[in-house]
């Protein structure tokens, strides 16, 4: 009993509860006779959609700017890059390659400005990020109305103003990565291409955190006073961390969009940052500590809950969307729990 208790504590109580919940959902789904192959394929697909956003939390947390609720800014930069690729009529791998390449400088510019801001508000980064993100979403709402895009697939056909709310990637680069190198294991679709890309991205971020700069960033995040005493430019490290996080967010939305099949504009990016934040927290990260394993495990667990809860709940309670309610309670509950854990010592 003591040993079991210790094991659970090592694993993390909140992570343990969420893991049990995810397994329970899977068991119930199986007992209900749901098509498990489809469910697992869905989980893998959604994992691919969200993994980049979760990964974006790594540089922000280790550089000490905490959970990046302002990933919204990166998302907006990425959407803009993506729309430009569509406007130029680019399709296939060229199209998405161009979009990704363009998202990087956009992300760097936005991330740099955002990093400067975060350096001015040390200690309140998360709440600042949230509201700056919200404000940016609405600025861009006006932007989507007035930017001079001309592609008829993107603007409202007759009488409308500005860009459409959802812009289909059909005919451009719909599922170009999530449909690449797919293979089946016992009926479950494994997205080989996506997994390879995510693995590569994780590996690069991992290498970065082990590099000289990554270690300096870690020092700046973990103990800024000590770090500046040994000659690390803390503010610079924080800006670099923010830029990396923003760029990952910008790339993330393009990868998300190709899997989803649409770019979503206007208010859609509003609360997108909540998904990766909740995911990495579920995976075992805190506001100050994160590993790649937290990112991967957390995203899998979180997406498992979201994917499986909906069909399971719809059989338990036919009307009303219990699955969505579960998602809201779990993700916000875990964020509150993490805030309480982090704030307790101050």
């Amino acid at each position: 009993m003591e040993k079991a208790k210790k094991l659970i504590q090592d694993y993390g109580v909140s992570r343990f509860i969420v893991t049990c919940f995810a397994i329970l959902l899977l068991v119930v789904a199986f007992l209900q006779g749901q098509d498990m192959n489809i469910l697992f394929s869905d989980i893998i697909n959604r994992f691919g959609m969200y993994a980049f956003f979760s990964l974006a939390m790594v540089p922000s947390i280790i550089s000490g700017t905490l959970l990046n609720f302002g990933i919204t800014l990166g998302i907006l930069a990425g959407v803009l890059a993506g729309l430009i690729s569509l406007e130029l009529g680019m399709t296939g791998l060229t199209g998405i390659g161009f979009a990704l390449a363009l998202a990087i400088p956009f992300g760097v510019i936005v991330g740099f400005a955002y990093g400067l801001l975060l350096n001015k508000v040390k200690g309140s980064e998360m709440v600042v990020a949230t509201y700056v993100g919200y404000a940016a979403v609405y600025i861009m709402c006006i932007g989507w109305m007035v930017l001079p895009f001309k592609n008829p697939a993107m603007v409202w056909a007759i009488g409308g103003e500005g860009l459409r709310t959802t812009i289909t990637l059909d005919g451009y680069y719909d599922a170009i990565l999530s449909g690449m190198w797919n293979f089946q294991i016992g009926g479950v679709t494994i997205q080989g291409g996506m997994i390879a890309i995510i693995a590569l991205a994780c590996f690069i971020v991992y290498l970065f955190t082990r590099s000289k700069m990554g270690i300096a960033m870690r020092a700046a995040g973990a103990n800024p006073i000590y770090a500046s005493a040994v000659g690390v430019n803390v503010n610079k490290q924080r800006i670099i961390g923010t830029i990396l996080s923003t760029v990952l967010g910008a790339l993330g939305i393009i990868i998300y969009a190709q899997a989803f099949g649409f770019y979503q504009l206007y208010t859609a990016p509003m609360n997108m940052s909540m998904y990766p934040v909740a995911a990495v927290l579920i995976g075992g990260a805190t506001t100050r500590k994160i590993k790649i394993s937290h990112v991967l495990l957390g995203t899998v667990l979180y997406q498992t809950i979201i994917t499986v809860a909906v069909p399971v709940a719809s059989i338990l309670v036919p009307d009303g969307g219990l699955g969505d309610v579960v998602r809201i309670i779990v993700s916000n509950g875990i964020i509150l729990y993490a805030l309480a854990q982090a704030g307790g010592n101050k």
């Binding site: 801001l117 001015k120 508000v121 040390k122 200690g123 309140s124 998360m126 709440v127 600042v128 949230t130 509201y131 700056v132 919200y134 404000a135 979403v137 609405y138 600025i139 709402c141 006006i142 109305m145 007035v146 103003e161 500005g162 909540m274 309670v317 036919p318 009307d319 009303g320 969307g321 219990l322 969505d324 309610v325 809201i328 309670i329 916000n332 509950g333 964020i335 509150l336 805030l339 309480a340 982090a342 704030g343 307790g344 101050k346």
Partner: protein, 408 residues
């Protein structure tokens, strides 16, 4: 003398930059909206009445050092539980509103206690916490209204539940309680100004007797109100205002009572403790104040007041969007308070009132102004929401920057 006066104007402008900017913006928008000012005024009078409680309720957490309490949405949820109960008991009119008020109080106290407790666990991040408290509570609220109502608690009123019998309908008609407070007494704008003038005169006389010295500002105010009242009743240019603008007296009286209560409250021991905690928690703790308890109390008062606010809001509106009516309450109230010139740590009753007025004036005219300036009402709507988030973001950035530079 002249130089001195000029200096004062500059100081006035820099101290009140935010309201001045928004007043200017509002005037421009009113002009471009192309709507009759009297019609705008009538709408703003109604909006002010239904939102003032929310904004005033934020004063407590702000002064207790917890920043803008976006978690007042839980108060709105408590109010909706109260209203739903009144509907389920098939009450109408004032009794329904009174029952809803009684029912919502224990819920509001409980929610306020829980969110206050969580705020104490996350000192320094209260605004973020309170925001997520709102999101989390929204999930629990949905669980209650979608599954427990009708599913576990039987509801016998057909109009209140979905056809399947489980879950509340997403839009409820509140015709039976619409105007329960507002319609008790309604007067035109200038009669209301006379009422205010009479009140102001009484206060002036009382102050003059108490201090044995003429209260000059209050006397000027009284005279000004009388002049406005007379002008409104005689000048043909203002006759439109007299005809169109109707003021719900009881609602405004309640707002007045709350304002008086707040001013008095912060003179009591508890109110002073709250301010002390807001200024510096460590010093407050050392001087024997129970910091955590004081903060929880501030939070509970705020949530209860916002619950009252939501009841006033709904009786004015006449419909209840069961699953969304509470969502933006905290955000809008926070933005209104800031537009009135408050900061995240300092706020006064006049700022709350001015902010409510300016915010809702801007909210009313933005779509039409957007239509006429940019050729798109939607741009105006996006712009006004941007104002909400922008002003909150700016206030938080300024506050956080000050806090961060103070630490060095």
């Amino acid at each position: 003398m002249f130089k001195n006066k000029k200096f004062n104007i500059k100081e006035f402008l820099s101290e009140n930059a935010v309201p001045v900017v928004f007043l200017t913006l509002s005037i421009i928008f009113v002009y471009y909206s192309g709507t009759q000012p009297a019609i705008i005024m009538n709408d703003v009078v109604a909006r002010f009445a239904r939102n003032a409680f929310f904004v005033l309720s934020l004063l407590f957490p702000v002064l207790a050092g917890m920043g803008l309490n976006f978690g007042i949405v839980v108060g709105a949820m408590a109010a909706q539980i109260g209203i739903y109960t009144a509907l389920a008991l098939e009450l109408s009119g004032l009794p329904a509103v009174l029952l809803a008020t009684v029912v919502c109080i224990p819920f509001a106290l409980l929610f306020g206690f829980l969110s206050g407790w969580l705020n104490n666990k996350t000192k320094g991040q209260e605004m973020l916490t309170s925001m997520f408290v709102g999101y989390f509570a929204h999930g629990v609220y949905m669980l209650l209204f979608l599954f427990i109502i009708g599913g576990i608690i039987p509801i016998n009123v057909y109009e209140l539940v979905l056809p399947s019998g489980v879950g509340a309908r997403s839009s409820l008609d509140l015709t039976q309680i619409k105007g329960a407070l507002d319609s008790i007494v309604k007067v035109d704008l200038f009669t209301f100004v006379f009422i205010l003038a009479a009140l102001s005169a009484v206060i002036t006389v009382a102050n003059t007797i108490k201090n044995k010295k003429l209260d000059v500002t209050k006397t000027v105010l009284t005279v000004a109100l009388v002049v406005v009242g007379v002008a409104g009743n005689t000048l043909p240019a203002l006759s439109m205002f007299k005809r169109v603008v109707k003021v719900p007296v009881v609602t405004y009286a309640l707002i007045g009572i709350l304002c008086a209560f707040i001013s008095m409250f912060f003179k009591t021991k508890l109110g002073q403790d709250m301010r002390a905690v807001g200024m510096n928690m460590e010093i407050a703790e050392v001087s024997g104040i129970n910091v955590n308890k004081t903060r929880i109390t501030a939070n509970m008062i705020s949530v209860v007041l916002s619950a009252f606010g939501q009841i006033m809001f709904l009786q004015n509106l006449g419909t209840l969007s069961t699953y969304t009516a509470h969502q933006n309450v905290g955000m809008f109230a926070g933005a209104a308070l800031l537009i009135g010139g408050a900061s995240v740590t300092k706020a006064t009753v006049p700022q709350a009132l001015l902010g409510t007025f300016l915010f809702h004036l801007l909210f009313n005219v933005s779509p039409l102004a957007g239509q006429n300036i940019f050729g798109s009402a939607l741009i105006g709507e996006y712009f006004r929401v941007f104002i909400v988030y922008g002003v909150i973001a700016l206030a938080i950035v300024l506050h956080a920057a000050k806090k961060a530079s103070g630490k060095k």
